[in-house]
Symmetry: C2
Subunit: 316 residues, 2 copies
């Protein structure tokens, strides 16, 4: 492999767990994360980027890893006071987490583009890797559900993903462009990894940014995807339902079909080993590993396996 | 006196100390505060209204009265984290105080006018009096100083009022209108009191809102001003320097001259008793009292004296 960066397309906590392992097998400084911003929201005046923050906090070692969001040891004084003022305080923010959003919003309102502010936060919080938003342009993941037309966070946090989802769509996506730095990172990359994130609402919006799919396709021989599903189930959350809403078969085979034109390697869980030959038949190099990434050793192993696939001779 | 409300034109902490006494001599429910919004600022994405909050917090009994701003017992976790991210974190906000700004900003961004949000906060925080902004329209108090052209808060908080002030001006003032409810409250008022606040940058912007001075003038016979100066000195802060910048003589006589066309009564400090006859000669009914309002008994006494002036027969 060349000496270029390792680029990872990433959602939130699933990607963060994977990245925690990846930075044990490559130098942190070689990592470039491209994060989903479709879940971002303006909330009480603040711009919140849940996936970018999750990735940054985990890489910096300051995440609350058991809860999966926010900062470890954070307090909720402001949140509790807000809950005393309004019943609309459904989005949970810790006090130190708030500082991130205050910083970001202040910089955005002063005219700094999101990719620059994201880089500043990664540097100041100590991530020691590059974190890029998929785009500086506003993109919003919205869901048509039996409880109405909802922003992703309304569905996920406020409604605790109880409503049935009929359709997923994105506002702003046609006008979005990949953030500055993405094209250069991808063309220089020694590997592009698609993190084990929700293909529908985490990786989906990244690949929908006009121009992004072509950038990954051009690097197909250097791209490996990691399945987020084990025996057709997600580790947590509504991944399966959202994949169904997008018409994606909710198992490793469906994920492999989805990425077959942009990835040359595929890592799936040991419990799904029976699907390996069918996935190899799609043209993938395949690795089978335990992919439950709660465990740091497993995350490191999956990351190493993904990179190893790129060292193998091309599939037939 | 009639049964109408008592309307008070108010700045920040000086007014708040006075109001704490006033609500001991009138029912809280009779009070309508018209607060200065020239000091308001957008900061890190949040809309902050320092004078409205100070008045509301003091009336609700939740203010940090010794510090003079913010909420008693508040923590500064978010503020401290923000200071770790940027040196621009000069405006101090407690965690529970942040909830006020998050609430207000969320409501404003949803389209609610400032007077409505201010009323909601007063009600939810337990002020049990009406608090109105001078205007729903944005007005900004700015200072030309030897350290540049500054927002009032930059001068006051960030620069700790060290720069010399050459000129005070207001952006947005020509287009501003008194907030809904002000005209009605003033015409129904049994008394209008001008709190012992800075005449230049607290009461000044209120009276500069087009239409406001005419509303007070029309009620001149029911209006009493309380001097914020004792022997030509302010209790704290840059009142004297800012009055000089506005061309106002910085003593009780200068304040009386400033308000002579809109007020019929004047309360000055016992230490300034020698000025009483000159002020009476301007046409004022005059009361002389100790006006250092740190003391609740003194604040109550001054409030009672102001209202008593309106029970006296008109001056010659």
């Amino acid at each position: 492999m060349s000496a270029g960066p390792v680029v990872v397309l990433a959602g939130g906590v699933g990607a963060a767990r994977f990245l925690r392992g990846l930075v044990r097998v490559i130098p942190r400084e070689d990592l470039v994360v491209i994060g989903n911003t479709g879940d971002d929201l303006w909330w009480q005046g603040l711009y919140i980027a849940p996936d970018l923050d999750t990735v940054t906090y985990w890489l910096a070692g300051v995440a609350d890893e058991s809860r999966g969001w926010g900062l470890k040891g954070d307090s909720f004084t402001a949140q509790n006071a807000l809950a005393g003022l309004t019943s609309a305080a459904w989005f949970q923010l810790g006090d130190r987490d708030l500082a991130t959003h205050l910083y970001r919003t202040g910089r955005l309102n002063a005219g700094a583009p999101l990719h620059q502010v994201t880089a500043e936060l990664a540097e100041r919080l100590g991530a020691r890797s590059r974190v890029l938003p998929m785009s500086d342009d506003p993109v919003e993941t919205r869901l048509k559900t039996d409880a109405g037309d909802l922003h992703f966070q309304e569905y996920f946090v406020r409604e605790r993903f109880r409503p049935s989802v009929r359709e997923i769509y994105w506002t702003g996506i046609e006008a979005a462009r990949p953030a500055p730095g993405i094209a250069e990172a991808m063309s220089a990359a020694r590997a592009i990894l698609i993190a084990p994130s929700n293909p529908a609402i985490s990786i989906g919006p990244i690949l929908r940014v006009p121009g992004m799919r072509a950038l990954v396709s051009a690097a197909r021989a250097r791209t490996v995807a990691i399945s987020p599903l084990i025996q057709g189930r997600a580790v947590k959350g509504p991944t399966v339902e959202l994949m169904r809403a997008e018409g994606i078969r909710p198992d490793a085979l469906g994920v492999a079909q989805l990425y077959r034109e942009i990835a040359a390697g595929f890592v799936l869980d040991a419990a799904d080993a029976s699907l390996a030959s069918a996935i190899a038949a799609m043209g993938y190099r395949v690795a089978v590993r335990p992919t439950l990434l709660d465990d740091l050793a497993a995350a490191r192993e999956v990351a190493a396996a993904a990179l190893d696939l790129l060292r193998q001779p091309a599939a037939a």
